[in-house]
């Protein structure tokens, strides 16, 4: 099967496609999020027993973990489109990367916020210099840096490419940063690792968590496409097709 993907790589072709996809992704997101919320609040136990007993506040993981996953995934998407843009020199890739950044930053902030609210009742502190928290904070800085650099450069082409390069440099640095935060003492690094195995999580918790993740993932598609459409419109405002779109949609 050969599809000419470059056909969709033109902003003019992608604009209507994105417009048609947004309601679908938005609808799926709403349904999944509602299911996850219902399940998370009504089909789960109020208290968790075991070695680390948790009370009702553990429900925060139903947004915390999905937000954290999305924040990392969206950074990969951001860096990926940046790389595609730099290699193939396609305008749409840069626009896609730019459209992803604010949504990613929002999810990173949410992961930090919900993490703090979970940490307070379970660890007794809003903030701890735990490896995961610290890396999430640095990821937030990377997003902010990308957005700041992009908006500081007036020349659109330079802004796209400079921010793309920054995203890739950030991606290369992420493992190193993660390593340095995870094992600040290389003499005993291995002991500090902590892993959670998805198989060990009880299904009644795993299901709403995964549903919420899919919901937020779908939401991200909708939000990114919506932002992408705005970016396309304002950048291509000199073209005839935009004028037709404006004539159709504005009234």
């Amino acid at each position: 099967m050969t599809i000419n993907w470059f056909k969709f790589a033109s902003p003019a072709a992608f604009y209507p496609i994105a417009g048609r996809l947004i309601p679908w992704f938005g609808g799926i997101a709403a349904v999944l999020v509602l299911i996850a919320l219902y399940w998370g609040f009504f089909e789960t136990a109020d208290r968790l027993g075991g070695s680390n007993p948790q009370k009702e506040y553990y429900r925060i993981i139903f947004v915390h973990v999905p937000a954290a996953w999305m924040s990392m995934w969206l950074y990969l998407v951001l860096a990926g489109w940046s790389a595609v843009g730099l290699v193939f020199n396609t305008r749409l890739s840069f626009m896609m990367a730019k459209a992803v950044a604010p949504t990613g930053a929002i999810f990173t902030f949410l992961a930090l916020w919900t993490g703090a609210l979970w940490g307070r009742p379970s660890w007794g502190t809003y903030w701890d210099w735990d490896p995961r928290l610290t890396s999430e904070l640095l990821l937030f800085f990377l997003y902010i840096g990308y957005i700041a650099l992009h908006s500081a450069i007036d020349d659109m082409r330079r802004a796209d490419r400079a921010a793309a390069l920054l995203a890739i440099v950030g991606l290369v640095m992420v493992p190193v940063i993660y390593l340095s935060i995870n094992c600040p003492d290389p003499n005993q690094c291995a002991a500090l690792h902590q892993r959670s195995d998805p198989g060990s999580i009880h299904p009644s918790i795993l299901i709403p968590m995964l549903t919420m993740t899919l919901g937020l993932w779908s939401y991200s598609f909708a939000a990114v496409f919506a932002r992408l459409r705005n970016i396309i419109l304002s950048r291509e405002s000199d073209n005839a097709w935009v004028r037709d779109v404006v004539a159709k949609e504005a009234v």
Binding site: E56, H64, S237, V246
Partner: protein, 71 residues
Amino acid sequence: MIDFLQQGGYAGYVWSAFGMTFGLLLIEILQLRSSHRTTLTRIARLVRLRTPRRKPAAGAGQDSGAASAKP
């Protein structure tokens, strides 16, 4: 119902986590909507400015808010 809202005494934590999450997403949606509208009106204004004026009354229709209020 009260029990549900109290979340076993952790209402502040649980609801501010969920509230911030969906509040922010809602704000993002509203912001995207409004920026879509402003982009459209801005481009529409640009287009109108660039096309030569045939009717002298065209300037009166500049207020896009009033124009879109009429179905």
